[in-house]
Symmetry: C2
């Protein structure tokens, strides 16, 4: 007969299959009722209504978010006030808000707001018993940002007396790049298909487009490209401009400007031109006309993001012109409208002896030749979003051109759909790297902040991990990477720990056990993945094309620099890529101070060792172990770390709703399997060169190298 345990299982099951409130859709904007009774009472006392000064779509959006958020957190209705009164939250630009404050009391001073138009203040000021809360800025969008800030503080259970903010963004362009095709296939996407349903746009305005904009605005993300850098000229045609206009209209109140990816050969493809030569007058005129047309649809159009002469994309080099010629031609077209060109530096030709060096070789000579409204977008590392890369030498080498940092939020090389990897520590590792640009101390962050050229535009871009999966990012913890990217884009000096804490409090709950446990999991997750995938400076040993799973033996693709063996160079002597003066000398692209710290295999930071050195299997590591032993230890340590993370999560069964708890639990199960697969496949393969054993006290691989080599994944996603 029926048993109690079965009953619990069934009830759990009912919750699982029918409660959709915890499906992850709400992201970090959940606005659940405050579960601390005293604090709740205090909030209810101090926030009795909202007063709006001024009328602007961004102010309306701020109001709507505040109503939604406050009514959720305080579990009561929030009236719109006809005039300010104690307990009011006053929302508006400082110019429109101040007169109302003065009416209330002539003694109130004009709030001091940051100069930057997106900056804002949140201040509590004494007034009668419950005081006033002011959210203001020079601009409507600043007010919106301030409103999200207040809601973040409330969701994190901040006491009323600590509600204060005075914020300005560190960087101007805080941009998401969606690699979304017009088919809705997302290149390197692991969360379903593209959000943008081109077929039903412009008439069908999915409410999700608004929720997407809300989420971005909550972080201060203010620019998006919604199409792939591997571009399709059709996005520049009337039917698509109408669709893009609909999106831009939805995004605008949220302070988000739309950029487009431009196919360099568009004049040929769309209008049967014989050339796309950027110095051809007809081509120039075509782009000017096209740009003027775009601005008729999207008056605040941001400009073009361009991938040119890279991986088969056309570009100025097709006509013996250089990147500056191409970028400047487009820059002249958008300049009258205040637009910008973001030109990607991700280039690599098959001829070079080291792919590492090529972006530098192509772009360093062009420094100073770009128009003022051109920004060059550089991937964080010299190769391609590996689990760990040294910073790209371009950050230390380009000084007359604004550089945009390009991070990849989507986890192409970081476990894709199924690995929990918190990327903030990796982002910060790059931002904090010392470049000695111009011979002086200057971190990568200092470089992209344009510390030495205060008038230059600055920016940062993240390749989005967003799709139409209900929870947006496929893996729930992918949300944390979207979140962390946005928060760091606004304030790169935030610590990874504090961003994780913010995210956890808003996404899960404020219970100390939840916060501490999840924070610990997140903080260790990236290093754990590096260990079980590419320890000690290994890189690019993933499967061909889809980049799923280990393929260190890969040696079948047409170009050497597409093959894993190109990157690790394992042989009977040792492993690693010699980029010192005795090798490709890629190290020479760095400033002497940087070079020095990496050029000696005995003193090189071991996390970059195999990036720069081909070292013997017997090489003595700082631990005293041989390289082989250390490599083995790292792979095993990575799996062990991952298993600990799984145990930690399982301890949260009573702290997290069953739907999200089970979602993450199942994915951690897959991650564990795949971590073991990585470890076993890589060690068995490298062992064919080292001829050294995996220590007997470790669990031995349960499959043969031949088994791992036999695996095929023709439909791995994102390819």
């Amino acid at each position: 007969m029926f048993k109690k345990t079965l009953l619990s299982v069934l009830i759990l099951f009912v919750l699982l299959s029918t409660s959709h409130s915890e499906d992850g859709y709400e992201l970090w904007l959940r606005y659940k009722k405050c579960d601390q009774p005293q604090l709740l009472a205090s909030y209810r006392n101090h926030f009795s209504g909202i007063f709006l000064a001024g009328n602007h779509p961004s102010i309306d959006a701020a109001f709507s978010e505040m109503v939604h958020g406050l009514s959720g957190i305080m579990d009561k209705n929030i009236p719109l006030l006809k005039s300010p009164q104690e307990g009011a939250i006053l929302i508006g630009t400082v110019t429109e808000l101040f007169p109302h404050l003065q009416k209330l009391s002539p003694s109130f001073k004009r709030p001091v707001v940051p100069q930057k138009k997106e900056g804002y203040v949140v201040v509590r000021i004494p007034y009668k018993q419950h005081g006033l809360t002011i959210i203001t800025s020079t601009s409507p969008v600043g007010v919106l940002y301030g409103s999200f800030h207040l809601l973040r503080l409330l969701q994190s259970q901040t006491p009323v007396e600590k509600l204060a903010a005075n914020e300005s963004p560190a960087l101007d362009l805080r941009m998401l790049n969606h690699w979304d095709n017009l088919t809705r296939h997302v290149e390197r996407g692991y969360a379903g298909i593209a959000l943008w349903n081109w077929h039903t746009l412009p008439d069908y305005k999915d409410p999700r487009y608004t929720d997407y904009a809300r989420a971005n605005a909550s972080l201060g993300i203010n620019a998006v490209t919604v199409t792939n850098v591997n571009a399709n000229a059709l996005v520049l045609t009337k039917p698509y401009l109408e669709k893009l206009q609909a999106l831009a209209d939805i995004f605008r109140p949220y302070g988000i400007r739309l950029f487009l990816t431009a196919r360099f050969s568009a004049p040929i493809e769309l209008d049967k031109f014989k050339t796309a030569d950027p110095l051809d007058e007809g081509v120039k005129a075509w782009w000017k006309r096209k740009t003027d047309e775009i601005y008729q649809y999207i008056p605040d159009f941001g400009g073009f993001l361009v991938k040119a002469n890279s991986e088969g994309q056309p570009g100025p080099q097709n006509y013996k012109r250089n990147h500056a010629d191409g970028a400047n031609m487009l820059a002249d077209a958008v300049a009258p409208h205040g637009g910008n060109i973001v030109w990607r530096a991700f280039v690599y030709n098959p001829e070079s002896d080291d792919r590492f060096k090529q972006a530098y070789e192509e772009f360093k000579p062009l420094d100073g030749q770009f128009r003022n409204n051109v920004l060059v977008q550089v991937k964080n590392g010299p190769i391609d979003f590996q689990p760990r890369e040294p910073f790209s030498p371009l950050f230390g080498a380009i000084s007359k051109t604004p550089l945009i940092m390009e991070f990849q939020i989507t986890q192409e090389y970081l476990g894709q759909a199924t690995h929990l990897v918190y990327q903030a520590p990796m982002f910060k590792e790059v931002l904090n790297a010392e470049t000695f640009s111009n011979g002086k101390p200057a971190t990568v962050l200092n470089v992209i902040e344009q510390r030495l050229r205060p008038d230059a535009l600055t920016g940062i871009a993240g390749v989005a991990n967003i799709g139409n999966d209900r929870n947006w990012t496929g893996h729930l913890f992918g949300q944390a990477n979207w979140y962390a990217f946005g928060r760091l884009a606004w304030n790169p000096n935030l610590s990874s720990e504090s961003i994780a804490e913010e995210w956890i409090r808003q996404t899960f709950n404020n219970h100390p056990v939840t916060v501490q446990t999840v924070q610990k999991m997140m903080m260790g997750s990236h290093e754990s993945l590096v260990r079980y995938m590419t320890p000690l400076g290994l890189a690019h040993i993933m499967g061909n094309g889809h980049h799923y799973g280990p393929l260190p033996w890969g040696n079948t693709l047409g170009r050497p620099d597409w093959n894993p063996v190109y990157y690790h160079r394992a042989d009977s002597f040792g492993i690693g890529f010699n980029r010192t003066a005795t090798g490709t000398n890629a190290l020479a692209q760095y400033a002497p101070e940087v070079r020095k710290q990496w050029e000696d295999s005995n003193s090189c930071d071991e996390k970059y060792l195999l990036w720069f050195h081909h070292v013997s299997w017997q090489h003595k590591m700082k631990s005293g172990k041989t390289l082989w032993q250390e490599l083995t230890d790292h792979y095993y340590q990575g799996v062990n770390d991952m298993r600990k993370m799984k145990v930690e999560w399982s301890g949260l069964v009573k702290k997290i709703d069953p739907e999200r708890f089970n979602h993450v639990s199942m994915l951690l199960g897959i991650q564990e399997k795949e971590a073991v697969w990585w470890r076993n496949a890589c060690l068995l393969y490298f062992q064919t060169f080292s001829k050294m054993p995996i220590p007997a006290h470790y669990e031995q691989p349960d499959q043969t190298l031949e088994y791992y080599k036999s695996l095929r994944f023709p439909y791995a996603p994102g390819n």
Copy 2:
């Protein structure tokens, strides 16, 4: 300053962008609190708990659904009872349930249940004040079906005294066919990508798989193929069998058996065979081994669904064998396990003079040659799921082989993603068509019911319209077609009206205005679409490949029978396809009684006129108008009908939640645009032959024929 209207807009907006409870995910299983106080009180009085007899996964599923449903409808907790008492709902197979009834009172008689194992009864029996409610069957899955039946009655606000059911399914196999590729692309899918995330299966068990099974079980759908009939041999390999096993395990408690689509050349593709000849002993042995392997993973595996020698798919004809040879070879492999082969009759070779005739020509001679466990699956019409087709002649011609009806729920030719079209009237039009099979009155339904061969297996299949869109079907009203297909598969004698009413009450609400308005919209929607797309028997004049939008001028594809001009044959004399004895004589494939009603262009039912006759533009119609006038009237009438539907919906603004109301409103806006496009493009094109005017009192086309011809949709979905 802030105005009231803006406030309403903002509040609406807040609702729109943040309330996700009405996003359509719950389908017709919403279980909202009963809004009739007296009825609610009565339910609460009469249903105080659930008593379970027996222990079986399907009984557990029934219990879980009842808890979910009753606690929602009655807004109170429903306890599990340790013993039956008044007010109890008793759930269990009759064998396990009856002893508990007897214990309660020896006077209770054994409930009489239907013989068919999936049949069930729901009965109220008097006992003390509040009586008992019995849901029972010979089988656990019958009990589950009965539970869904009770919940349907309660959601439709049925009074307690009318709660009763005694049901058995009319057909054995009630099957969904998903045309889902391993890439997750859905052929002819307009609701995102496939539900099945092959990459994360088998370890990640998306709760949505369970919700999918629940929805099917609520209708009695008991079989599914989850892969495309344009098949990929990889689904038969170990990694995919492991993934399929996980799905089958989830589906099993819901009474759903998994079928697989079989690629006929799989022995060649998977195991390097030189042949897939069905008479080759090695090939036979391969399929037996493969089938045995599948049954190890899925003990209740249903069998194979095969598309062979059709549209490029391999098949027995590659080896000069016929369909029976191919089907029987597979039938012998699955027979020891109790499996079946479903062999599709959708074939057409480029040689024939009329595609209409080909399925008959290939399959009629094979009647009687198939094994007992083979079913032949026939599309409703002779061509391909057109808005209206006469029934396929095979239904009147095959008498020794069980035929499965194949309907297409996904709206490939019915407006795809954006048209509201309720298909039940179309399904019933086909089921009720008179075949005069064997010379006696027999509808298509009688044929597939195998009235003359009671021991034969019977079935019906629907090509699914389901994807990973949050609301499952893209267009909310697509849910009604999934629903209607399932309900008709269970009981083909239900009226379209009653199915619509059921669906509306469960999906929206029980308000008479809602029910009447939406029912009226639905009932007229199919005829309206036929009018603005393909009136009077036109067919297949859609865009190439993607079949989106009108392309009556289409004449560029390699095979004549892929081109619209092949189907309408418009010329200066007239329009239509002469399939009488003076033409291709396809009519001869029907029984004389059927033929007779269609063979004279003056007496032929005008809705089929152009299917069978090439008639003059001046042809006098029954209305007294010329054919051209009638055609014009139909196109204009179709648009007008559609506009009325839009007005009707707009009247429901206060009856339907804003999220779903706006969803449908935006789609109706698109549908109106597209209906006008269809009307204008078709009439302007046909006018180039008829040389006759569009009456001046009609709104004239606002674009030229050249404009319509210039439109391109390279990324229309589903292709």
